[in-house]
């Protein structure tokens, strides 16, 4: 048998997260209600440790390992660090929310960390096999987290819809992978791209495989027309879980799209370009228009997330490293804004009351001028108003689209984001110009107040100095 020992070093963060997750799982068994905070602290320590490991492994070149099923390249490094940071924030936000609802269990953190591990595998995947396994690891953790609130009917229903539609999407993805494997005879992405370039004659079968792959990816990203699950799941899940599933998995979904399209199928670029244009236009259109009709803020943010997914696709479809960097920038910026948006819903809620209706935000300025201002930052950023970071993200993808000579697409995107600005501004109008239904000032816990303020001010600060993050994305894409 000729077999070389794989290089374990690039996979250190994965091994660390797996080891720590197992440790937390065991330690949590011996904790009681009072000492459960140890699990929480260990989970945070895991993310910090993984961040340090990934940072120390970060370098400008790509390293393959485990018989080319694993790759650590700059894109993987940056996205992984973004995932750790996002989930770190998610845990900070959800700490008191979970406590008030009896969900503060070690399993929440263990499942979330398994989800993180799945995202890491997906981000570093370099073969259909690891893409699929990473995706399943991530999705299984997410399904279980949505269903964790067992006595809630809406959460169970949301979990059921998510699971069934997710399983169908996975099946589609596998179907596409099987077709591509049948034609090329390989699962490994570099070999796949070479084999695709070399195939002569009828490429229709490859296109069939590509379409099925994209159906699976579009589902995971929540792009129209595969978005039906997004509002129901975001609405039905406990807000802490919504916060998790609406942010970090988008980064992994972006990585999956990049691995499959850019690493695996550059030979089919003209074909996937057209499909992504369609998905992007539909997502931006449907997301922004349907969000106007929502009265529930979680559903509204879900539709806003759909339109953001469309913008993210705009960056990728341009087919240039600058475009990919813009898409990556958009994905990271969206997770920061999504954290703020759903974080605000958590902050407004308390035991026995979920601030889910838009009406609950009426007159927030009278109750707490500071948090009304923070929400204003988040909403302006999502709408793409300068100088907030959301503006630069939109600008970057639009530049990429324009440089790909798709003026009409840029125009459509701008028109729909102007339409979409309406529902973000409506929230601001409710906060500042309507009479509060509830009297009494808003008194969130100190930790929540600090985290949300930091998040919202971060949106403003990054908006003032977007250069560093953009440069990082460009470097990661080798542009």
């Amino acid at each position: 048998m000729n077999f070389d020992m794989p290089n374990f070093l690039p996979a250190m963060p994965e091994m660390f997260v797996l080891g720590m997750t197992s440790l937390i799982l065991i330690i949590d068994l011996f904790l009681n209600e009072r000492t459960r905070v140890v699990s929480y602290l260990l989970a945070q320590a895991t993310l910090v440790g993984a961040f340090i490991l990934s940072l120390s492994l970060y370098s400008g070149n790509a390293e393959l390992s485990f018989s080319d099923t694993f790759v650590l390249d700059p894109m993987a490094g940056v996205l992984k660090m973004a995932v750790y940071a996002t989930v770190f924030m998610v845990f900070l936000y959800s700490h008191s929310y979970l406590r008030e609802r009896g969900l503060f269990r070690g399993e929440f953190f263990v499942l979330a960390l398994f989800g993180v591990l799945g995202m890491m595998v997906l981000i570093s995947a370099h073969s259909f096999l690891t893409i699929y396994l990473g995706l399943e690891l991530m999705s299984l953790a997410l399904y279980a987290m949505v269903a964790m609130q067992r006595d809630s009917r809406t959460a169970s229903e949301a979990a059921m819809k998510y699971f069934i539609l997710g399983a169908m999407a996975s099946a589609m993805l596998l179907y596409g992978m099987s077709m591509l494997y049948g034609v090329t005879g390989t699962l490994e992405l570099t070999e796949l791209s070479r084999a695709v370039q070399q195939t002569q004659g009828d490429r229709l079968l490859l296109v069939f495989g590509l379409v099925f792959l994209l159906v699976g990816v579009a589902f995971k990203l929540g792009a129209v027309p595969f978005h039906m699950w997004v509002p129901d799941v975001y609405h039905g899940a406990p807000t802490a879980v919504t916060l998790f599933i609406s942010t970090a998995p988008k980064l992994a979904g972006f990585a999956m799209l990049m691995r499959l399209m850019v690493d695996g199928l550059p030979g089919l670029q003209p074909q996937w370009h057209d499909i992504l244009v369609l998905l992007a236009v539909l997502s931006i259109g449907v997301g922004n228009v349907v969000a106007i009709a929502q009265t529930n803020i979680k559903r509204m943010l879900a539709y806003s997330g759909i339109s953001h997914a469309g913008f993210l696709l705009l960056g990728v479809l341009s087919g240039t490293p600058e475009g990919y960097a813009a898409g990556m920038f958009y994905a990271i910026v969206y997770t920061i804004m999504g954290l703020g948006g759903f974080g605000m819903v958590i902050l407004m809620s308390r035991a026995g009351f979920e601030a889910e209706q838009l009406e609950d935000y009426k007159g927030l300025n009278q109750r707490s001028p500071w948090f009304a201002l923070m929400m204003l930052f988040i909403m302006f950023s999502m709408a793409g108003v300068p100088p907030f970071i959301g503006f630069w993200a939109k600008l970057a993808v639009l530049q990429a689209v324009v440089s790909a000579n798709l003026m009409w697409l840029a125009a459509v995107a701008v028109i729909f984001s102007v339409i979409g600005a309406f529902f973000y501004l409506r929230v601001i109008k409710l906060m500042y110009f309507d009479q509060a239904r509830e009297q009494g000032s808003l008194k969130p816990g100190a930790d929540l107040a600090v985290v949300l303020s930091a998040n919202a001010i971060g949106i403003l600060a990054l908006g003032a100095f977007p250069g560093a993050l953009m440069a990082l994305c460009l470097q990661a894409m080798g542009a």
Binding site: M1, F3, M5, L18, S22, L25, I26, L29
Partner: protein, 118 residues
């Protein structure tokens, strides 16, 4: 390779033929005189209280799914056992890690009380 499975095929064929023959003979030769008493459900001499298909406790599901997980683990052990001599220390250690990960799950379910029938 397939020729090794010919006995299995013959076994299946004979099994089906034999079983089918028995059922057919019973069907042809057995006396059948149904009446309403014979056809009604028998429940210890009482009238039947309810439908026989009552709901199972969800705990059976947990037992079944834990069984599947360890069944899959065993499925992975077979090829490993066959090639153990060829794959060397690395192959051995990869299975040790695999089992180690599942042992953590086993400790978890044991301590959690999932194996206990209340």
């Amino acid at each position: 390779m397939l020729e090794n499975y010919l006995p299995v095929l013959i076994f299946i064929a004979i099994g089906i033929a034999f079983g089918g023959f028995m059922i057919l003979m019973g069907f042809l030769l057995g006396p059948r005189k149904p009446d309403s008493e014979k056809l009604s459900a028998y429940e210890c001499g009482f009238e039947a209280f309810e439908d026989a298909r009552m709901k199972f406790d969800v705990r059976y599901y947990l037992v079944a799914i834990l069984f599947i997980i360890f069944d899959l683990e065993i499925a992975f052990l077979f090829p490993w056992a066959i090639v153990l001599r060829d794959i060397g220390m690395f192959g051995f250690m990869s299975m040790v890690l695999f089992l180690g990960i599942l042992v953590i799950g086993f400790i978890y379910e044991w301590k959690k009380g999932a194996l206990q029938w209340e």
